[in-house]
Structures are given as C-alpha cells and as structure tokens.
Amino acid sequence: MSDILARLDGVSRIYQKGKERVEVLHELNLEIPKGDFIAIMGPSGSGKTTLLNLLGGLDKPTAGTVTVGNAELSSMSNSRLSSWRSTHVGFIFQFYNLLPVLTAHRNVELPLLLTNFNSRERARRASIALDIVGLADRAKHYPRELSGGQEQRVAIARAIVSDPSLLLCDEPTGDLDRDTADEILRLLQVLNREHGKTIVMVTHDAQAAEFANRTLHCDKGTLEAKEAA
C-alpha cells in the first residue's frame, strides 16, 4: 500500500444533462504507484478528463472512492479540497492557462501565495522552478511575450513550485508542434525520473504516450488496463 500513491475503487461518475443521465465513468478501479508516469488515451468523451478531475479533487465521484496519499478525496469538503490541491497536486493544461496580467515569475509564484512563505522565499522557490524548466531568463516576460512551448514550461514550473507528489496533465502537448511537444514530454520525463513526480497524462497523441511508463486506454467509461508497448 505504501507504494500506491492514488487509488480509485469502484468509481462511477454520472452527469445529469437535462433529463438524460450520462455515465462517464463506470465502476472504475485503478491503482497508481508512486513515481509512475501513466498516459491515458481514448476517444473524446471517453472519460479521460473526468478521471483526471477526480484524481485532482476538482470533481467528486457519484459512487466509489478516490484516495490520493492518505486523503480520501470523495468525502472532503470543497474548502478542504482547495487546501489539499494547493500542496499535493500540480495541474498542467493543454492551453497553459497562465494569467496574462502576470509575468512568468508571478505566474509560477501564484500557488505559493496560499502558503505562509514570505515574499523572499516565494521568489526563491519560483526562481528554482523556472530554472528547472529552463526559463530562468524569461522570468520577467509576460505570457504574450513567450512561445507556446515556453508558456507550457512556465505552466509546468507553476505546477511543481509547491513540490506536489502528483502531476496531472490534460493534453499538455495538444497545442504544440512535434518538436516542442517532445521537449515538453522530455521535461515531464525528467520530472518523473529525477524528481520523483508521479504523472498522469491524458493525451490523444500516441507518440506522446510513448514517453510514459505505461498507457491505459479509456473507453465508454471503463479503463482497459492493457499495457501499451
């Protein structure tokens, strides 16, 4: 058990769309060992992002339990989930989702505003995170002054600045060209292998999935635990 970072037990997620009930996930079971790098593939609407949202405490299952570390997310209040997210999980989105009014450095520093670190310590940690992603020299640039790949690196720095154990990536290379995408994926590999981050990555891109340790296929609300090559 100590090697398992996250566990989903019999998780179902049903959305009510008007009069229609849509079961996005159906009695899903999954264990994610610490230090794993998992790619989740599947067609649109198969429940990949919902699975990611449940793991990140952004959504709650209709049935079943989601446990990450020692936290049973499905029973936590929204305010406790907010607090938990700020220290235990980092999110990386397809469209980076940086705040355009803040510099790269300030974007990276954002999660640290929720901590008790003073401004000097926050700045130091943000600088380290930017250094890890190779963008120390772009700290004072605004997102509009960065390329797509650089923006995604800043987003990765923001995701790791609080030193979370789990990184959740939703199509992190979906908006990037092949070369840039590969750079980002190599960076994720480094974070996984050298910094011990557990990574769950949703992707449509088979080449991207090859950077993961294993690939799971999600379809019609169930997870096929067959290993990708």
């Binding site: 305010s79 009014v101 929720l114 401004s119």
Partner: protein, 385 residues
Amino acid sequence: MKYFRLVWKNVWRKKIRTSLTILSVFVAFLLFALLSGIGYAFKGGVDVADAERLIVIHKVSLINPLPMSYLNRIASDDGVHSVTHASWFGGFYQEPRNQFGQFPVEPQAYFDMYPEFNIPDEQLEAFKRNRTGAVVGQELATTYGWEIGDRIPIQATIWTKADGGRTWEFDLEGIFSSDDPRGSTALMLFQHDYFEEARAFAKGTVGWYVLRVASGADPIQVASAIDLQFANSPNETKTSTEAAFAQSFMKQYGNIALIVTLILGAVFFTLLLVSGNTMSQSVRERISELAVLKTLGFGDRAVLGIVLSESVLIMLMGGLLGLGLGWVLVQGIAQQMAAFLPGVFLSPTAIAGAVAMMIGAGILAGIFPALKAMRLSIVDALARA
C-alpha cells in the same frame, strides 16, 4: 496583502475601461465633496448652535421687529441668565454682490453671549468707546483686506438714515475669530446705540433677542414662559433653541439637505450601475482564469475576496482622487465666497462618510460578480474554456 499585486494587475487588465470607471467614480465623489461642503454652509449654523442659547423672534416672522422694552421683561424671567439683542441690517459693501451679515448689537453683551468669538480686550474696549465703531470676523477682514483703523462704508438696502442717506460709515476697531472652525466669522457687528440714533424708522425695536438659559433651568420651559409672557400682546413671540432657529432660517432657501441627498442619490445609483457593469464584464471575461485559480487551491472565499477587493480598489482610487480635489476646491470656494456664503466646509464627518461610501459602493458593485466567481464550478469553467 499578498494578493494585492494580483488584485492590482486584474484591475488594470483593461486600462481604458478601468480608467473610465475610475473617472465616473472620481466625478461622483468630487460632486459629493462640493455639495457636502456647500450644504454644510446651509446647516453649519445648526451644528454649531449652543443648546443653552434661545432665540426670541416675532411670532409672525423674523422680519417683524420686537419692542426694545421686551429686553428687561425677558431678563426678569428666573430661567434667564442673560439676554441681549441683534437686528438684521442687510447692507452691502461697495457693490450689491458684496453682501454679508451686518448686525447692530450691544458690544459687551453680545461677546458675553457668544464666548466662542474671540476678540482682544483692547479691541473690544475700543469698539465700546466708539459710537460708530465696528468689528468684523477674520473671514470678512481677509476677504476684503480690511485692517483696524479702516473706515468702511456700508450701503443700506433697508435702513435709511434719519437724514435720508443710505451710506453708513463705520470705523473698524477690531477683528474677531471663532474657536469653532465650523462657525462662520463673515460677520460685521456695530453699535446698536448708533443704529438706533441714526435710523429713520422703527426706533425702539430690535430684530430678535438672544438669551442664555440660567444654570439648571430647562430651556424648553424657559422658552414657553417667555412666549406666555407676551401672549395676546401686539407683538407675540416665538422662542426656540438656537439650533431650531437656524434650521427654520435655512428653510427659507429650500430644503438644501434634501436637494443634496436627491442629487447624490441619483449620482451614486448611476455609479453603482456603471461599476457593477464593469465588474460583471471583468469577471465574465476571465471565467477560465478564475477556474485556474480555484484549481491551484484558491478557496471560494479567497476568490470572493479578490473580486471584491478589485471593486473596492476601483472605488477607492476614483473616490479618493475626487474627494481630494473636492477638498481643495471647497477650500477655494470657502475663501472666495466667505462673504456671500460663509461656512463652506468639508467636515471630517463628511470625509469619513465618503470613504465609507466608497467601500460600501465597492462591495455593492462587486458582490454579484464576486458571488458568481465564488460559486464557479471548476470543471464546467475549464470545459467551456
């Protein structure tokens, strides 16, 4: 405080829109400062009124004079500590627009009755000695550049002299100030004896009496006793507290307070709509950013606080600028109009009220967008983005 940079950056996300909103807030609070300052002049007399001073006027109106013989009869009342009188002269200096209060009074008794007015003893003595002497308040002396020893001609609009002349000349013997910064000193006082002797008509009358209630006496009972004393006489009286007298006097100009309140009400209602619209747009435009903040761990209350802080900050920036300029303008108006409209003053109470209104209006304008941001579903917002 650590969110301040984020709040500040969000406020200036759309510079033109924010600037225009701040400008509207600026104008609203500039107007507030000006109207409050001028409105104060109309109710200043009420605020500085002494609760133990009563004013006795003719029951019909302030314009009707009262017999001089009432002085001793009023003074004989047990509840009266001291009494004096004054009259409305209603003249102007050089040009009709240079109007200010001029009152024939009993010099010593008047300054005893109004201890808040300060005049050096030697100037008061000189005033008492000189039958055509006069003293003026500091505001008036400053406005017209008068100095002790100046001879000041006042053109009468009511009181012609017995010789048919309308020009009354006075020797300036003193300049007095007031302990209370809210009290106007745009006044000229001169000797009633000279006025009585030189005027062409209505001799043996005064405009009104001012009395100080004896220690321990009930002002209301004293007022009733005085009015009862003169009941059914040809000159019945109406005695009221100084504050009530000042209020009724100001009502001659209309209900200034109501007019000011109505204007400001309309301005602030419009301001709320403008600012509320700005905040709504601002939140609508960055739903996905707010969702990201919540994803990063910013709680509902933090998001609510950030949006509300933006709204309050916009109000404070525009409001303080408007209030600041308003304060400067009110100072200028007070100086320029000291003679015609004394007591123009932006009081600390009005300033504190304005700051409270800025914060309150900021919260009101921002509360609905802030609640929307707070209740935002992360999953839905990210899916829409």
